[in-house]
Structures are given as structure tokens and as C-alpha cells.
């Protein structure tokens, strides 16, 4: 575990939430937050509270839907699930993300490659 946690880039939280819901099906806010923490192996700095702004944003866009239900240990909670529009958006965002990380990888690799080449 690194000494300093990663700050989330603008917009990445929304993508994480969408991906989590796509992978896990219906989940409540706490579940989503925990899931992201687990997957990131506690590397991201996530105030769990910020997840709700992301959820309301996604819901207003129609990418996720919510309904009140009862959790595993019998607590009333709001459950979120991804919609069809949400899946489309996720696919598009994922593609974009892959391209971006690909480019970033290549750019960051540039210096190392040069250094390894014989003079």
C-alpha cells in the first residue's frame, strides 16, 4: 500500500460506479463504495459520502435507476442498478478510457525507451 492514497480524477468516480453496477448488479450506496475500495485495494482516497453526488448525477442522466429495498442484514436501503442507457454509456466511456490510458502509457514509456537505446 502506498503511503499516499490516489486522488480520484474528475469523472472517474462516475465510471467506477457504472462499472461496479454493471459487474455486480443491484447494489446500495454503501455496497458500491465498499466494492470500489476493495477492488482498488484501498489505494484510492474515497470519502464514501461523495458517492451520493455521483449517484444522483448518474440517475438524473438516466444511466442508473434506484429503488428502496431491504439489505442482507435487514436494513432498509436504496438499491441502484444500471439501465440500458447506462450500459451503452459505460461501453463508450470504457473505450474512451482504454484509448486514453493507451496513449498515456505510450507517452510515459517514451523516455525509458530512449534511455535504453544504445548511444
Amino acid at each position: 500500500m502506498s503511503p499516499e492514497k490516489l486522488d480520484l480524477l474528475q469523472g472517474t468516480l462516475d465510471l467506477m460506479v457504472l462499472q461496479t453496477l454493471a459487474a455486480m448488479g443491484s447494489l446500495h450506496g454503501y455496497g458500491i463504495a465498499r466494492r470500489i475500495e476493495q477492488v482498488s485495494a484501498d489505494e484510492v482516497l474515497l470519502n464514501q459520502g461523495t458517492i451520493y453526488a455521483s449517484l444522483v448525477r448518474l440517475e438524473q442522466r438516466g444511466w442508473i435507476a434506484s429503488t428502496w429495498g431491504v439489505s442482507g442484514n435487514n436494513r432498509k436501503a436504496k438499491f441502484y442498478s444500471i439501465t440500458r442507457a447506462g450500459r451503452r454509456q459505460l461501453a463508450a466511456d470504457a473505450r474512451y478510457w482504454e484509448r486514453l490510458t493507451g496513449v498515456m502509457d505510450r507517452v510515459m514509456a517514451m523516455g525509458k525507451a530512449e534511455g535504453e537505446e544504445p548511444a
Binding site: H28, G31, N47, T50, Y52, R61, S71, R75, K76, K78
Partner: protein
């Protein structure tokens, strides 16, 4: 798509704030409970689990805030919050609020009213469909009155035939005098005014009747049964808005005339074509009847085909002129309209000459708005000084500078909105009042109203004002150094001093603006005084006129034969002599006479009589204006005369006599070789016409305007020439109103059918001619007064504040021996310093800009030293006066009290 959806969701969220907040609250509670459950399962104590859960969740309020920001309309939330706060603070300080709203209301109200005037007269198209197609067809301005600005019916016909640019051309008879109708219900006839128009007049303008129908070609046929169309106003006042009026017949000018229609309220002939005059009805012009031989009588109005430009229309007119004859029976008169047929935009004809005055008026109210804003800035700065700690505190608690400026701007906007609301009421009342100034000779005034564009303008200036007066104090306050401000407990420290410098600059600019306004108003006022002082060539005071009805005997014929002509003239002379004898016998009457046209009203010309045996120069577009008058008329008008007046014995078949005015005499004398250049006793002749013997020379009379150049005049004897109408002019020793009854009954004694015409003071003709100048002068002067008041208020505010701020300092000085009068003097000197700088700047700016109003001035230099001097002195006096109260207060400061305070 999702963007739109999100916006809708945000708006929805804004209105369901409470439910959503509750929902979120429940969700967060569940979240934390679940987290606690998990930590407990992992073996933590309940207290530790709770701590960890809350720690991981992060700031709850922050989460809620982000949630609201993400879901709703944060800006609107803040706005509502600011509004609530603003209204609370303003309520706490009702004195400040009232003064601020009043200042803004006055300024915004004036701006709304003037905008309505400018919009109606200048910006908006004329109130006709596709008004930009309408053109006014007239010769360039010339020095021979309306006869040179009109066309003969033959010329009209040819023009219509030989031009291709127009959908149609129409016109109206330009020489109908006021009171040319006499409506009889059996009793005494009632006077009214109608205009004869060519039958297609309303079609060309695009006016639709409110009731009934308008004219067809058939109505204008020679010998057609008489018909009339009523104006909306006349229909209401004279006919009690009778809904069944159409089809009824009335005795008008001794003819059974059928009402065929009523005009819509939106069309007022007078408002467009003869401002300040009332036109009650419209009648069709008998184009092919007798008017054919009346010469130039028609003004032409054309409607261009779509897409035709004015330049094309001009060329078209030029190619049509060779075909236009003054009279088709006189081939020599063909082509006489060369260079005399020029289409211009009808709107320019109606209001073009007022543009400069309107722009000046607009600038004047703009300056009022600026002064008001400066004043408000000043008031707000004074408040800011008192509130600086409040804002420093808010800053210390985390409010950003933008947030504070935003709060202050909200306050300004609220003030300005309140000012605009009250201003709308003030402006609306002013507009209502202006719209009912029927006697002011300005076009379209009656259609003034607060309409959509005026409302939009109100909104614009309200926002503009708010930003203008709110920004400076806002920025200053937000820029304040926190520590400084919080420490700044006493007066005399840095921040307050800086405030005061800004306020002094504001006051100086206020004084400068007021100075410019006052100089403008002063120049206009002086011009107006000069116009009132103009020697008009007649004496309007204590003279009044009344229309005399006279119908020639049908048995005398139409005047075409010498015998018929003599009979008509003789009978008329006998009748008029009888009228004048009776009038002169009335107690209080000094003199009486009859003319067919009064000065400053309509006019006409009959050609250019020239000294006998001298050939007149070619292409001279100047002719003397013609007046056919009885003996005694000139004396009744108060026009000085050298030589002899007409006499009743100047018979139709005797020697033909004329009186000319001095300027015409001087002109003729250049060409004739008269002994001593004296025209009296000389003979003039117009072409092959009769010879006229000059018997007298009258003073120049201002015939067309009080402030313009005077044209030439020629007077013919009513015993020898046909007159158009008969205006009785009476000079009295009593106020004219006192004589009205006896004059009318004297006329009735001779002619029982005499119309109950108005006994109109000659002064009213002059007032009517001066009314536009007076109108603008009064408006600008009242705005300048308002500016002066605001400036005085500003000075008072600043000096008063600075005295309060320096209470301690003054106390110390007095304790050290300064006397009350020295303290008072010093405060006054401070005031005077601000005022002097302001006046100097304002005067300098006026010197530069006064040229812009030069064209509105009469006989007054835009750099008139007297005006500048008087205004400077006035402003300085007002400044001293405004500084006097605070100065007195300063002088009365008790050193002991002042030193103990704070």
C-alpha cells in the same frame, strides 16, 4: 438528450428539495448503519465501529452539499438565499432604502418616458403596415410656402401614370383650414375640421376602418353624394360613440352628408401629418372637379413596390417630371416641376427634423441615470463603511470574495428592481400626460404608451444601473484587507480615508454631469427666451380670431365671367364690411379686420409679381406668400404699415392695389430702378396678369415659424381678389375670452347660421409654433433640475459623512482653540473644493459637447458665457448650501463630548 433530461431533473429537484433531502438523509443513515454492522462483525466495539464508519464516510454536510450541487440549481439556491438576506437588511434600514429607491425611480422613470418618446418618434416605424414603403413626395424646401410643396391634380395624375416604382400614389388637399366643417343638428352649427383626401388614401396607407367602410373611387366622383369618415375621437365626443352611426346622415356645410365609416383609434391624421392640430373627419377630394383649376393643392404620398429603393424611386420621379404639367390646359406649364419631385421616407418627413432634439433628450436622461447611479454608489459606500466589519467577518468565516461581491450585486439588483417598479409607475404617468398634450406640435405623441419595448428597455437600464452603482462599492468592500478592517475600529484610519477619496471622486463626477445638464438646459432656455423675444411682425397679445362663415350667393355664378366676378366680390365686401362695422362697435374692441390665412398656419403663393418692365431672373424658387385681407386687418394684427391701408372703395374693376412686406420690397428694389428704392406708388405685374399698384409696405411677418427665416408676403385687397376663407381678427383692450360671447352674437345677428367657432387668441398660434421647442426645453430643464437636486444630495451626503468621521479630530482642534467659525469655514471650503473641481470639469466637457446641440439653439452661442457663468454660480451656491448643514453641525461639536466618544 441526456443533457436535456438532466436539466429537467435539476429543475424538478429544485422544487422537491425537502423530499430529496429527507431521502438522502435516510440513505446516509442506512449507509452508516451498514458500515457499523460490518465493523462490529469484524470484532470492533460499537463505539469504535461508529467512529470508523463516520470517518470513512467523510463530511456529512459536505456530502449533502455535493449532492445538492449535483442534483439541483445551486445558483438559484444562492440567489434565493441572497434575496432573503437582502430584503432583511433593506428592511432594517428603511430610510436608506426609501431614498435609494426614490432616486432610482426618478431616474428610471425619466428614462422610460423619454425612451417611449424616442421609440415612438424615431426608432419605431410609422403606425402603418409595411411603413418603410411609404414615401413623401415633395420638392426640396423652398421659400414660397405650401404652394411650392404641393402639386396640381394634373401633375398628380401624370406622376401616377409615368412612374413604375409605386404600388400606388395618393395625397390630400393641403389647404383645409381648421373649422372648415359646420355640423348642424338644427340649432347653432358646430365647427369641426376635415381633410379632403384622394379616394385611395386609406388603401395606400393601409388603414382599415373600425366600423363601416372607407372611400371608394365612386365617392370622389364629381357630383357623388357627399360622404364622410369620422375620426375615432370625434365619433366618441360628438356622436357619443354611437354604434349605429354608419349610414346616418347629417347636415354638414348645408349638405346632407352620410357617415360611411369610423376610423380606428390608431389612425389620427393630425398626429401624423399636421402635429398639434385636431382633424375630426376625412372627406373625399373631388379630384376631377373644380380643384383641377386650383393649381398646386395636393401633397403626394406614395407606397413603393416591395424591393424598390428610394434611390430608384428618385430616378423614376426624375424621368416622370417632364410629363407633369401644372395645368394640362396650359402646355407652357408642362415640365415646370423639374427638380421638384423628390421622394423621401415618409417617416423622415414626419419626425426627421426632431432627431437631433430627441437624441439630446435621450442623452439628458442618460446623464440623469448616471448621476443617480453615482449617487447610489455613494450611498452604498457610506453603508459599506458601516458594514465593512460584517463582510470582514463573513470573509473570515470562509466566504470567498466572489461570493461577497455576488451578495452585494444581489442587493443592488433588488434596489434597482424596486426603483424600476416605482419608476415604471412614474414613467407611465409621464407618458400618459405627454400623450394627452394635444396642443404640442409634435407628431405621434398621441400614440405614446408603455409597450413591450419600453418594458425591455426598463429591464435593461435597471440591470445596467444595478451593475454600475453596485460594482464599485462591491469590489471595494470585497477587496478590503480582513485584518485591517477588523482592526479598523476608529475613524481616521486608512480604509475610511480611501473610502472618502472614492466618494469625493464620485461627487465631483456627479457635479460635473449636473453641470453639463444644466448648461444644456440653460442654453435651450436662453434660446427659448430669444424666440419669445422675436419681433414676429404682429402683436399676438390681446388679439384673437374667429372663423366667419360666408356662403356666396348662388345667383352670382362661379366667378368665371367679369360680371360674376364683380358681383361675387362686391357682395362679399358688403357682407364683410357689415361684419366689421358691428364688431368694431363692440365695447372693448380696438381694431378688427379679416384675412383668409393667419400667420403661422397655412399659406400659399400665387407666383412672383415683378416690377413692370423688368424680366424676373430664371429658376428662382421663391415667391411671396399671399394674404387676401380687408381694410383694417393689418392694424388689428398689429403689423406696422407704411403707406396706406386698403379701403372699401378699392373696387374690383378699379385700380388693382397691393401691399408688400419690407423684405419683398427690398428684393424687388434690386431689380427695379425706383426712386429712393421706395416701392410705394410703383407697379408690379406677374407675367401677363393684371398690373398691381403698390400702396403700402408692411413689416416682415413670421409666417411659417417663429424661429425660422421670414418669407416674403404680399397682401391683396379682399375687395379685388377671391379669398379662400374668412378669419376675423379682433384687437381688444379686454382679455379675448371676455369678448368671445359678444363677437359670436354679433356674427349671429348677421348670419344666424354662423358656426359656434372658437374665439382663438392669436397668442395660441404663436404658442403652437413654439410648442416643440418649449416641450424639449421644459423636459431638459426638469431633468437638469433633477440632476442638480441629486448632485446637492450627493454633496450633502459626502460632507456630512466626512464630518461624522472627523468628529474626534474636530473635537481636538476645538479643544486646542479652533473657533466654531473656523471649523465651519473649513468644512465649507472642503465642499467648495469638490464643487469647483466638478464645475470646472463639467464646464470644460460642456464646451466640447455643446456644439452637438448648436442646431437646437436659436440666436444663442453654444459657448454663451452668460449661461456658463450663471450655471457655475448656481452650482457653487447649491454646493455651499448643501455643505452648510454639515458645516453647522461640525461647528457645534462639543469637544468634551467628541473626545469622550469612542
Amino acid at each position: 438528450m441526456s443533457r436535456l433530461r438532466r436539466m429537467a431533473a435539476r429543475v424538478r429537484a429544485f422544487f422537491t428539495k425537502r423530499a430529496l433531502d429527507a431521502d438522502l438523509e435516510a440513505e446516509i443513515a442506512a449507509h452508516i448503519d451498514m458500515a457499523v454492522d460490518e465493523y462490529v462483525e469484524r470484532g470492533m466495539s460499537l463505539a469504535e465501529a461508529r467512529r470508523q464508519a463516520l470517518l470513512h464516510f467523510g463530511g456529512r454536510d459536505q456530502a449533502k452539499f455535493h449532492h445538492r450541487e449535483a442534483r439541483g440549481l445551486m445558483n438559484l439556491d444562492i440567489l434565493l438565499q441572497d434575496l432573503k438576506y437582502t430584503i432583511r437588511t433593506l428592511r432594517r434600514d428603511p430610510g436608506f432604502t426609501a431614498v435609494a429607491v426614490l432616486i432610482l425611480a426618478l431616474a428610471i422613470g425619466a428614462n422610460i418616458a423619454v425612451f417611449s418618446v424616442v421609440d415612438t418618434l424615431m426608432l419605431r416605424p410609422l403606425p402603418f403596415p409595411a411603413a418603410q414603403q411609404l414615401t413623401w413626395i415633395a420638392p426640396p424646401p423652398s421659400k414660397c410656402g405650401e404652394s411650392c410643396a404641393t402639386y396640381s391634380t394634373d401633375a398628380y395624375d401624370e406622376f401616377r401614370m409615368y412612374t413604375r416604382s409605386y404600388q400606388d400614389v395618393t395625397g390630400y388637399f393641403a389647404f383645409s383650414g381648421p373649422g372648415n366643417l359646420s355640423l348642424s343638428f338644427g340649432g347653432a352649427p358646430i365647427p369641426a375640421t376635415s381633410i379632403d383626401v384622394i379616394a385611395n388614401f386609406f388603401n395606400v396607407l393601409g388603414v382599415k376602418p373600425a366600423m363601416g367602410r372607407l372611400f371608394t373611387a365612386d365617392d370622389a366622383r364629381h357630383g357623388a353624394p357627399p360622404v364622410i369618415v369620422l375620426s375615432d375621437a370625434w365619433w366618441r365626443t360628438q356622436f357619443n360613440a354611437d354604434p349605429n352611426i354608419v349610414g346616418k346622415t347629417f347636415d354638414i356645410n348645408d349638405q346632407q352628408t352620410t357617415v360611411i365609416g369610423v376610423l380606428p383609434r390608431s389612425f389620427d391624421f393630425g398626429a401624423v401629418f399636421s402635429p398639434g392640430a385636431r382633424v375630426d373627419a376625412i372627406t373625399p377630394l373631388d379630384l376631377y372637379g373644380p380643384p383641377r383649376d386650383w393649381g398646386n393643392i395636393i401633397t403626394m404620398i406614395g407606397r413603393l413596390k416591395p424591393g424598390v429603393t428610394l434611390a430608384q424611386a428618385r430616378e423614376d420621379a426624375v424621368q416622370a417630371t417632364p410629363h407633369m404639367c401644372w395645368n394640362n390646359k396650359q402646355p407652357g406649364s408642362c415640365g415646370s416641376y423639374k427638380d421638384g419631385v423628390v421622394p423621401t421616407a415618409l417617416k423622415d418627413h414626419v419626425s426627421g427634423r426632431l432627431h437631433r432634439a430627441l437624441v439630446v433628450l435621450w442623452c439628458a436622461v442618460g446623464m440623469i441615470l448616471l448621476i443617480a447611479c453615482v449617487n447610489l454608489s455613494n450611498l452604498l459606500l457610506a453603508r459599506a463603511a458601516a458594514r465593512s466589519k460584517e463582510f470582514a467577518m463573513r470573509g473570515a468565516l470562509g466566504a470567498g470574495r466572489a461570493r461577497i461581491v455576488r451578495q452585494l450585486l444581489t442587493e443592488s439588483l433588488v434596489l434597482s428592481a424596486a426603483g424600476a417598479a416605482v419608476g415604471l409607475v412614474l414613467g407611465g404617468s409621464l407618458v400618459y400626460w405627454l400623450a394627452h398634450q394635444g396642443a404640442v406640435a409634435l407628431p405621434l405623441l398621441n400614440s405614446l404608451q408603455i409597450d413591450g419595448s419600453a418594458l425591455v428597455w426598463t429591464l435593461l437600464i435597471a440591470v445596467f444601473a444595478a451593475v454600475l452603482f453596485g460594482l464599485v462599492p462591491g469590489l471595494r468592500m470585497a477587496a478590503g484587507n480582513l485584518h485591517e478592517t477588523l482592526k479598523d475600529s476608529g475613524p481616521g484610519s486608512g480604509q475610511s480615508r480611501k473610502h472618502e477619496r472614492v466618494r469625493s471622486i464620485l461627487v465631483i463626477s456627479e457635479v460635473a454631469l449636473a453641470c453639463m445638464l444644466l448648461v444644456g438646459a440653460g442654453l435651450l432656455l436662453r434660446s427659448f427666451m430669444h424666440v419669445l423675444d422675436v419681433d414676429l411682425g404682429f402683436e399676438p397679445a390681446r388679439a384673437a380670431s374667429m372663423n366667419v362663415d360666408y356662403v356666396p350667393l348662388p345667383s352670382d355664378g362661379n366667378g368665371n365671367s367679369a360680371a360674376s366676378r364683380k358681383a361675387l366680390l362686391d357682395h362679399r365686401a358688403v357682407y364683410m364690411q357689415q361684419v366689421l362695422d358691428r364688431i368694431r362697435a363692440l365695447p372693448g374692441v380696438e381694431a378688427a379686420g379679416i384675412t383668409d390665412y393667419l400667420p403661422l398656419g397655412q399659406n400659399r403663393s400665387w407666383g412672383l409679381p415683378f416690377p413692370k418692365g423688368v424680366k424676373p431672373p430664371e429658376n428662382l424658387h421663391v415667391q411671396p406668400l399671399v394674404y387676401v385681407v380687408t381694410p383694417g386687418y393689418l392694424r388689428a394684427m398689429g403689423t406696422p404699415l407704411r403707406g396706406r391701408d386698403f379701403s372699401w372703395s378699392d373696387a374690383p374693376d378699379g385700380q388693382q392695389v397691393v401691399i408688400i412686406d419690407r423684405s419683398y420690397a427690398r428684393f424687388l428694389a434690386q431689380y427695379a430702378h425706383w426712386p429712393n428704392n421706395d416701392p410705394i406708388g410703383q407697379t408690379i405685374v406677374d407675367g401677363n396678369g393684371p398690373e398691381f399698384h403698390i400702396i403700402g409696405v408692411a413689416d416682415n411677418v413670421h409666417e411659417e415659424s417663429t424661429d425660422g427665416e421670414t418669407g416674403w408676403q404680399i397682401y391683396y385687397a379682399s375687395t379685388q381678389q377671391f379669398a379662400t376663407g374668412a378669419d376675423l381678427v379682433v384687437r381688444t383692450q379686454l382679455p379675448p375670452a371676455a369678448l368671445a360671447g359678444s363677437v359670436l352674437s354679433a356674427l349671429r345677428a348677421i348670419n344666424p347660421k354662423q358656426t359656434a367657432a372658437e374665439f382663438k387668441p392669436i397668442q395660441s398660434l404663436v404658442d403652437h409654433a413654439n410648442s416643440p421647442r418649449q416641450f424639449f426645453m421644459l423636459l431638459v430643464a426638469s431633468f437638469a433640475t433633477l440632476g442638480l437636486l441629486l448632485a446637492a444630495l450627493g454633496i450633502y451626503g459626502v460632507i456630512s459623512y466626512s464630518v461624522t468621521r472627523q468628529t474626534q479630530e474636530i473635537g481636538i482642534r476645538m479643544a486646542l482653540g479652533a473657533t466654531a467659525s473656523i471649523v465651519e469655514q473649513q468644512v465649507l471650503m472642503g465642499t467648495l473644493r469638490l464643487a469647483v473641481i466638478g464645475v470646472a470639469l463639467g464646464a470644460a466637457a460642456s464646451l466640447i459637447t455643446a456644439r452637438l446641440i448648436a442646431s437646437l439653439l436659436f440666436d444663442t452661442s453654444p459657448w454663451d458665457p452668460l449661461t456658463y457663468g450663471a450655471i457655475s454660480v448656481t452650482l457653487l451656491l447649491v454646493a455651499i448650501f448643501s455643505g452648510y448643514l454639515p458645516a453647522r453641525r461640525a461647528a457645534r461639536i462639543d469637544p468634551m463630548v467628541a473626545l469622550r466618544a469612542n
